[in-house]
Amino acid sequence: MGEMAIAFNVDNCIFCRACQVACHVWNNTRPQVTEFSPTLTNPPDLLPNVWTLMEAKEVVEGDEFHWLFFKRQCMHCSEAPCAKACPVNAIEIHPEGAVVIREDKCTGCRFCIEACPYDVPRYDESSEKVYKCTFCIDRIQNGLEPACVAACPTDALVFGDYDELVNRYRSQGYEVYGDSVNDYVGRTHYIYVTRKYKGKLTDPKYFGDRLKKDPRKASVQVGANVVEPVGWGLVGLTLLAAAGHFIYWRAKRIEEKSESKGEKGGE
């Protein structure tokens, strides 16, 4: 199996939340007891046991009000900053595009949370580990669609070959988010497509800051791309300088000693 993608078609979603339920069922994650809140989004945010979440947003355009539904989960970035930040290599990037946390390896250091620009991984205090969507890697490696895709009744979620999906939607006039985001995340294996909101996928008025134009964590990037290489370079240079100075100092001392011996001999 090559590189795969799940496309979320914003235009087709009816907010039935079958994907959210299917995710709980397949992954055996106990659902949250729901509470009343001012929005339809429930629970209000991703949790250690809520790996995918349907968000509902009220949008007013002119005099017209309408609901906008958005599916939130791990974006499965090709450059996976979380995997790079993990000090124990607990986050694996599969050839299919899935970015998966190995629960048996995770130490709960939360470096992945620091690195994720989409604010996805969630720390569970009871197990002291971090959890997020697995792209249903266990299903797709066994020839099944991801659970959320299989449960979707309106084809708002479609699973398929990465390039094929992107090309298909583009040729049908859709705006596609994810196939080339930036150098920090690479491309995401969860892609977002729309015709209805064309040109608005990264507009904060519609989707908040969920689909960032330039998602990155500056401090993490500075740490990995500047501080570490420059730091190690300077450590190496300091070692070389110390070795050079030692050789120079020793040669000078020997020279001075032989000079003073010569002077004494001359006397």
């Binding site: 124990v88 048996d104 620091e114 570490e228 730091g231 450590v235 300091t238 110390a242 100075h245």
Partner: protein, 243 residues
């Protein structure tokens, strides 16, 4: 005439008449070495898993034979993080009484610049180049500009490492944006410490002119008056003035 016998300690005090380091300073420096060693060997696999990941196996493998179901590498990182934090607490236990004791003497310590003008700092750097590059005889105080810079780097660096380390340890008390900044500053602090320590250890162990100071720091805390007059004339003058 009856011969006069003196104890070894008295004889040493006579020969090594100048007190360079107090017992408390010797004690703190010794423990600083132990804890720094712990900080480095437990922090290295976290800052660079590519080069120092093997240290995590060293920590984790023996324990994983006892705790069967745990990944040895992850276990090693957990052990490293645990020792790192315990070392920080241990060092704090050493530093707090030392700081309380030293606070009153702080103004009299030789760690402040001789004067605060730009020309004064310029002269300090020129003196260092004259001595360490051209091997000229220079009138150093107790510590030269570089040594004072190192002492202040250690003081400020420790404060930064403790603050950022606390944010990362007790991260539930702080927002994620604070974790990110703390992590970055902790990493920068590590590299400054590594570079500074290479210079410090090299200067102490491999420059023979510094050896009496090293011996003083690890043994008696004292220097001979002859050495001080020869290598640190400004300091010698100050001592003589103070009587």
């Amino acid at each position: 005439m009856a011969e006069e016998y003196v104890s070894l300690a008295e004889w040493r005090n006579k020969c090594e008449a100048v007190k360079a380091f107090s017992e408390a300073q010797i004690w703190v420096h010794k423990h600083l070495i132990h804890f720094t060693l712990f900080f480095f060997i437990t922090g290295l696999p976290l800052i660079s898993k590519e080069w120092f990941g093997w240290l995590a196996f060293v920590f984790g493998y023996p324990l994983s034979t006892v705790i069967g179901s745990y990944d040895p590498y992850s276990l090693g990182i957990q052990v490293a993080r645990f020792i790192h934090r315990i070392s920080a607490l241990g060092l704090a236990l050493v530093l707090i009484p030392f700081l309380l004791k030293t606070l009153g003497e702080l103004r009299r310590m030789e760690i402040w610049p001789e004067c605060w003008s730009f020309s004064c700092f310029k002269k300090g750097f020129k003196d260092m180049i004259d001595f360490y590059v051209y091997r000229k005889r220079v009138t150093f105080p107790k510590y030269n500009v570089g040594q004072k810079g190192w002492i202040w780097t250690v003081i400020v660096g420790m404060v930064i490492m403790y603050v950022t380390g606390t944010v990362m340890w007790l991260r539930d008390l702080f927002p994620p944006s604070a974790w990110e900044v703390a992590h970055l500053l902790h990493d920068i602090g590590f590299f400054i410490a590594a570079i500074g320590l290479i210079i410090h250890v090299y200067m102490a162990l491999l420059i023979p002119e510094h050896r009496p100071f090293v011996r003083a720091m690890f043994r008696t805390g004292r220097l001979t008056e002859e050495y001080v007059r020869e290598h640190h004339p400004e300091w010698h003058e100050k001592i003589e003035k103070e009587g």
